[in-house]
Amino acid sequence: MTGDGPHHDGPGARPVTAGREQRGRGWQENLRGYALEVRGSVREGERGPVLVIAGLIVIWCVFQALDDKFLSPRNLSNIGVDIVGTGLVAVGIVFVLLIREIDLSVGSVSGLAGAAFAVLNVNQGVPEWLAVIVAVAVGTAVGAFHGAFHAWLGVPAFVVTLAGLLIWNGLTLYLLGASGTINIDEEGLVASLTSRHFGADAVAYAVAALGTAGYLLAARRRRGRHRAAGMPYRPQGEIWLRTALLAVAAFAAAYTLNRFQGLPLALLIFLVVLVVSDYVLRRTRYGRRVYALGGGVEAARRAGIGVERVRVAMFMVSGTLAAVGGLFVASGLTSASPTTARAAGSGMLLINAIAAAVIGGTSLFGGRGSPWSVLLGVLVIQSIASGMALLGVQDAVQFMITGGVLLAAVAADALSRRAAARSGRSRATPT
């Protein structure tokens, strides 16, 4: 899941061959090219999703061995809902990490959004839809505030957002101070974000089928256009293999979810956010600027990209998604309380979100990664949390383990970066 399409890795330097010759390439040639490409990306130190999936399977097996309720449809379905709050926050983090910055305030901002919603809706009687819009807008505004300080005043992002972490957590406690814990309407819009499930089996299967078919059609269309233009394209067999793997995963998930309460609304929203943000980042001019900024600020500036505006925009995205994630967290708890606000300030959500992004393969060093990395990463994080909760592991130990997982993920990121630099150097010799 690299940012920019296939990375062909030809054997040494050769002139780029033109359309006619490429068209003649048989599928064996294409397959060989693809094998080289995979080998190249491993050598360049790019971690594919395979390693994370393997890790996830190990984690599931271990917890299942310790407690046979872990892989029950009920628990898996709950994990599917619980990943959404952290996952949405982590998608925001991905946008910021891609431009090689960090947003440490997302935990506090999500707490602030939850509190703002609860105060407005429950205490002030503002209609729910309006309170939701205001809460999300608060997140966007906070992000713009951070971005402006960083981009236009040149304050390092980690300091701005570290200050933000305290400021917004303080504001949350201040808002809740008068009323203490606010319980939100359990039948309301926000509560239904996490409680609503599509009971009919058909819904989950339809989503699985749509996703698979959409992938297949897009891949085939892409292949067709490359082929028509006489350029290298993925072999037919590979597209079918990828589609088959996706179909197995999607239908297995749908089957499992249907054995409990059906497809959770929260999960559907999360998947839509992932698809849309991935598309925007990889396929639009706007997304290209984001990757460019992560790859080289000076290069981006000289190419005429408004670096400051992109920076502010990324912090706005991260603030917005933190607020949306915060609404899902509040929805899961059906309350906003000083206790949870303090927990948000302690950074657990922040650490989980950063860990989810980095475990999935988004680099802390900018320019590499994708929103999809969050799905795998947050599954790992939430599976560990859920397993430990099932086993009744105390908080103190959970903190240490989560911190350790984050450290391991970051170390792997740094190592893969070094591997990439090494292979870059070895190839920098004259050809």
Partner: protein, 259 residues
């Protein structure tokens, strides 16, 4: 055959605080020629490039573009005139592939959606017409050698079809073979009628690829030579200040006729 100058600088002066970086510098550049800009460290070569590329505008002096005076106050002004610059650090995004870098800031899109196929096709065409040897246009730039990166950076600057190309010490990081590839590329570009300013320390490079060489010393013109008739010793003595009389070395009589 003598073309009219595409770019003419007259009396360019630039001061940084207490340092007078450029004093009354003149330079003319015709289509289809390579002018080397030589000079010791601190002679004002990079400052002159920054003036022309709009990164740091001149305090005084006239810049004429195809015979009419123009203002270059921002990089954007230089771009829109048709002046492209390849800096020594190349300034590329290592994480993006060759296609992504070539089209950075001028992507081809259809209603905001990138047209990767068209960009890749044009990138392949460009690499082929310039005979640039890289593994593939879809490899990240980080995986290319120094010479390949240089070639990509130059072809990137050609995307906007400029009339003047500024190359800041392009051979500094290259090996012998890569340098000769680069010279092939420079000649290819020159033969298409582009004017090139080549900043270089290296007398061998200057003799190999430049048509004329303009020497700067302490921010002033200190000689303008025709490369085919000048010796390396003459250039070096102008660079080091052993020969300070610039006018005596004027290469062509027509230079004097410039108003």
């Amino acid at each position: 055959m003598i073309h009219p100058p595409v770019l003419a600088l007259r009396g360019i002066s630039k001061r940084f605080g207490g340092v007078q970086a450029l004093v009354d510098v003149d330079l003319k550049l015709r289509a289809g020629e390579v002018v080397a800009l030589a000079g010791d460290n601190g002679a004002g070569k990079s400052t002159l490039v920054k003036v022309v590329s709009g990164v740091s505008p001149a305090d005084r002096g006239v810049i004429e573009w195809e015979g009419r005076p123009v203002q270059i106050k921002r990089p954007h002004d230089a771009h829109s005139l048709g002046i492209a610059t390849v800096y020594q650090d190349l300034a590329m995004c290592d994480n993006l592939d060759v296609v992504g870098n070539l089209f950075l800031g001028r992507e081809i899109d259809r209603v905001g959606i990138l047209d990767e196929v068209e960009m890749e096709r044009r990138a392949r065409d460009l690499m082929r017409t310039l005979s640039i040897r890289i593994p593939d246009v879809r490899v990240p730039v980080a995986a290319l050698s120094a010479g390949q990166r240089q070639a990509v950076a130059i072809s990137r600057s050609l995307m906007a079809a400029p009339k003047v190309l500024l190359l800041d010490e392009p051979t500094a990081a290259l090996g012998v073979e890569q340098t000769s590839h680069l010279f092939d590329l420079i000649e290819e570009v020159r033969d298409r009628g582009m004017a090139i300013i080549l900043i270089s320390h290296n007398m061998g490079d200057i003799k190999a690829v430049a048509d004329r060489v303009a020497v700067l010393r302490l921010g002033r013109n200190n000689g303008l030579f025709d490369v085919s008739t000048v010796t390396q010793e003459q250039i070096i003595s102008a660079v080091t200040g052993a020969a300070d009389n610039a006018v005596a070395h004027r290469a062509r009589p027509d230079e004097e006729a410039w108003p």
